[in-house]
Symmetry: C2
Subunit: 176 residues, 2 copies
DNA sequence: ATCGATTTATATCGGACCTATATAGGGCAA
DNA sequence: TTGCCCTATATAGGTCCGATATAAATCGAT
């Protein structure tokens, strides 16, 4: 989803600064499915303001640059709903890990084992974070997203652990 | 994974044109985890050639522009292995679908049901394609990638179907 | 008490990448 | 025979990310 729409979505829930829009995803366990960088959020917010889809108020602070707090306008809200009503872009899952495993025959077996171990450890961490989120009070949409992630990572880890065991078995056999 | 490394990987298996490099992923059921567009493949190939990591031979064809067939050089092969030996970029799964579901409370219930139905149908199609690939003879790396995808889509579809049933139940209740 | 690390906050530049488009001949189907 | 899809290369425009700069507050450790 384009950054403009992501910004509008967050502002649908509450007013926020550019910084808070980025944080909104990082902390909420949604970073596995949606994210945007500062380098695209700030320009998006400027354009959205020009187009009247959001409004800004500069909150002056002592000895700090102004915080620019953005709010969604009625026009912005309508544009956001319109964006969700038409055909969505397709999911894209890009995995350097799977790519590397494609060429496992070219790599030292120790590297393949490390690749698997690292990826499993990473996934377990993400799952733990998701599990913690799942135990909190959530809006229905968030509940869906967190449970979705939980399902995916659980299935992934099961699969990976089984393969990891296979590789270990083959390594032992080869050592005989 | 950056496009340069993706190109080197494909050329590790066989010589190919830019066009074939793109096709290699589309047909092999790997498009869910790795992809690159023509707009990035062609410039990548040019740079790789300049750097001596690949070589080109122009195959003249009757009444057609030359096909440029690329081959990986020993230096390219070494660079590819090096890329796979150091830390990999993290996976990124971007899902406009999950993003939209986050805001299901703002959408008409019929739209939410359509979102779920479309996504389930799409996933079933991808799973079917993966299942067909899984029945073919594959290299170990490909076997891993296809089975990985199979696992993920199966788990996803199970989850989605359960949620879809919940939504239907709620709609019936509300209609009473 | 103070030094360093982290957090809050905005912003820009360069580069990587994608989408759309142009070009062009071949084969195939209606 | 008209139109569409496939092979094939290439570029322009635009989106987005990663790195970097700046700056002050806060918090933990020594």
């Amino acid at each position: 989803m384009d950054v403009r729409t992501i910004c509008l979505g967050i502002l649908t829930r509450d007013d926020a600064t550019g910084y808070q829009i980025k944080k909104a995803f990082e902390d909420d366990g949604l970073q596995h499915f949606v994210e945007a960088s500062f380098g695209s959020i700030y320009p998006a917010l400027s354009r959205l303001t020009e187009e009247g889809l959001v409004s800004v108020r500069a909150e002056a602070q002592e000895k700090r640059p102004d915080r620019k707090v953005y709010s969604i306008t009625p026009a912005g809200r309508a544009a956001f709903i319109r964006a969700l009503m038409k055909a969505l872009p397709e999911d894209r899952h890009r995995s350097p890990f799977v790519f590397a495993m494609l060429f496992s025959d070219l790599l030292p077996p120790a590297r393949v084992r490390a690749l698997l171990d690292d990826y499993i450890a990473q996934s377990e961490q993400k799952l733990a974070h998701l599990q913690q989120k799942a135990s909190e009070k959530l809006m229905p949409g968030e509940r869906f997203a967190i449970d979705f992630g939980h399902t995916m990572y659980t299935a992934m880890i099961d699969f990976l652990r089984a393969r990891r065991a296979d590789v270990e078995g083959q390594a032992l056999q080869a050592a005989e």
